[in-house]
């Protein structure tokens, strides 16, 4: 029986390779959230249905393909994989289970910047979160860091750069920010939009419109652009005059939802103004780099998530709703369920509560659900 690491699964999903998954979590957990990919096939049977053997599902399982058994942590998948192996199937199990899948980040290089630096996107493929690192002249900035901070600090070490600035586009409600932890460990400046940070319990640098931050000697500009709507403080960044980091305001195939801080009705007009007026004034040639993707189809061939602003104005349905009432209805009406534990996640990101690592993992389980389509 083979042990499969989450990185291998991520690469298969990105390169659209076939993958057969036997997910042995209970049905509710599976329906809520699973490993998705264009060539991924699933069978979901809870492990407790398989304790007496797998005869009943044998005809649903491939004989000529490896079966990857997946559960929440890994214990049950090992047990089921052992049973299947005894019955002659070719099997593997996912090391660390869905918990590890949720925490995996796949770094993808997005660009060589014209002023000499590099831009990386960190794709949290199991949860749909996107973080960024801009490197230049021995320095680095991180945008929307996740709580798995070692990945960023190790990556910076490998590249031989010093993390000097950390920015969050807004106060996140779907995942716990690693910004403050990295700032404490590296001495970097932690920037937050002050309107989202009114209740935070720690010191930060206020990130307001027209603030410019320089990374390295080559002076890469991170230019802040106030764009409220998902939260009142939501701020976008333009990096190197070419890349528009939209946070949770604009995604590839959807837009941000305005309700996660409890004020959907108040923020609808802000969201509309950001998308229909402020972004409209920007160059169509800017490449949009969002903080999330919702569906695996939004990934490009190389696993990155990006698109030209001009293309989004043509293709993204939510940017093409003329009628303001209809727009209001879309973003406040039939909203998807809110992310798991989003209130506690907001409290954690404000520094008001400090759950232990296991609790943080539990809080983040499931998809991100920050968008409306």
């Amino acid at each position: 029986m083979r042990t499969v690491q989450v990185g291998e699964v991520a690469k298969k999903v990105i390169s659209k390779e076939p993958l057969f998954i036997l997910d042995v979590r209970n049905q509710d957990a599976f329906e809520d959230w699973k490993i998705e990919g264009e060539q991924v096939r699933h069978v979901n049977v809870p492990y407790f249905e398989l304790l007496d053997g797998t005869e009943e599902i044998a005809d649903q399982l491939p004989k000529d393909q490896e079966i990857l058994v997946v559960c929440a942590k890994e214990g049950s998948s090992i047990m089921v994989a052992e049973i299947l192996e005894d019955e002659g199937f070719t099997v593997s199990y996912l090391s660390g289970g869905m918990r590890a899948w949720s925490e995996h980040l796949e770094p993808v290089k997005v660009a060589d910047l014209k002023s000499g630096g590099e831009l990386y996107q960190f794709v949290r493929i199991g949860k749909g979160c996107l973080s960024y690192m801009v490197t230049s002249g021995g320095e680095a900035a991180i945008i929307d860091a996740t709580r798995m901070t070692d990945i960023f600090t190790d990556f910076a070490d490998q590249k031989g750069v010093k993390i000097t600035h950390i920015l969050d586009t807004h106060l996140h409600a779907d995942h716990i920010s690693g910004g403050r932890k990295i700032a404490q460990a590296t001495g970097a400046t932690y920037w937050l939009p002050p309107k989202d940070a009114e209740e935070v319990t720690f010191d930060y640098a206020p990130l307001e419109g027209d603030t410019s931050i320089k990374i390295g000697e080559t002076k890469i500009d991170i230019q802040a652009l106030y764009s409220p709507g998902h939260t009142i403080g939501s701020t976008s960044f333009i990096v190197d005059d070419s890349y528009l980091m939209t946070g949770d305001i604009l995604f590839i195939d959807s837009i941000g939802r305005p309700d996660l801080a409890g004020l959907a009705d108040d923020w609808v007009s802000d969201l509309r103004e950001s998308l229909y007026i402020r972004y409209q004034e920007l160059s169509e040639d800017l490449t949009v780099l969002p903080a999330h993707f919702m569906i695996i189809e939004e990934l490009n061939e190389d696993g990155s998530v990006s698109e030209k602003l001009g293309v989004l104005y043509k293709r993204n349905h939510s940017l093409n709703i003329e009628d303001e009432e209809q727009f209001r209805e879309l973003v406040t009406g039939d909203l998807p369920p809110q992310p798991n534990a989003y209130q506690e996640i907001r409290q954690t990101n404000m520094g008001k509560i400090a759950p232990d690592e296991d609790t943080q993992r539990e809080m983040e389980i499931g998809p991100n659900r920050c968008a409306v389509r």
């Binding site: 492990y47 407790f48 049950s76």
Partner: protein, 192 residues
């Protein structure tokens, strides 16, 4: 106080062991008995609930204290699907009015765990298994209303009491499974 027939200590065990052990212990229990499972793995709640449903058992509820969950599961009772035979019944929706009578007493014959996670306020808890012994403390002049989950255990209780000389005994149907009135939960925990 919740009385159970057996306790399984699955503290410190990770998935799948709490379910594997619960399943094994359940096999040796009698129909209708209640097992208490102690666990520290937060994933056990959803799995135990889903397993119970799939195996036909009744997941009664759980209480969490300092990171230890106490789960209560009642073994499937094939008798619950039988027709009730006791002729004198009162429907759920008429019960509260009937209980206005000064001589009326409501007796809940489910297991103490089921009672603790949700009962009609004022109901007296006498699990069916203890009825023979505790019946003697009841007043034969009173109007007794007997409730369980689906009307079967209460049907049997009514027959036992009439055989023992009680004159006014009514079976509440269908019982707590479809009760939509006020509920009292004395556990502070989560009811299924």
């Amino acid at each position: 106080m919740i009385q159970t027939n057996k306790v399984l200590d699955a503290k410190g065990l990770a998935c799948p062991m709490p379910i594997v052990k619960t399943r094994k212990m359940m096999k040796d229990m009698k129909e209708g008995q209640v097992l208490e499972v102690l666990s520290t793995d937060s994933g056990t709640t959803a799995d135990l609930r889903a397993w119970s449903e799939s195996a036909g058992h009744q997941y009664v509820g759980n209480v969490e204290e300092d990171g230890v969950w106490r789960h209560f599961v009642r073994k499937a009772d094939s008798g619950e699907k039988q027709e009730t035979v006791y002729p004198f019944t009162v429907e759920n929706k008429q019960l509260l009015e009937s209980l206005q009578h000064p001589q009326a007493v409501l007796i809940d014959v489910r297991e103490t765990a089921e009672y603790a996670f949700g009962h009609i306020p004022g109901a007296l808890s006498i699990p069916l298994g203890q009825l023979d012994e505790r019946m003697k403390y009841l007043d034969k002049e009173q109007k007794l209303y007997v409730v369980c989950r689906t009307g079967n255990r209460s049907d049997m209780a009514c027959r036992k009491m009439v055989a023992a000389g009680f004159e006014c005994v009514m079976n509440v149907i269908p019982g707590m499974s479809e009760w939509d009135g006020e509920i009292e939960n004395t556990t502070g925990g989560m009811k299924e």
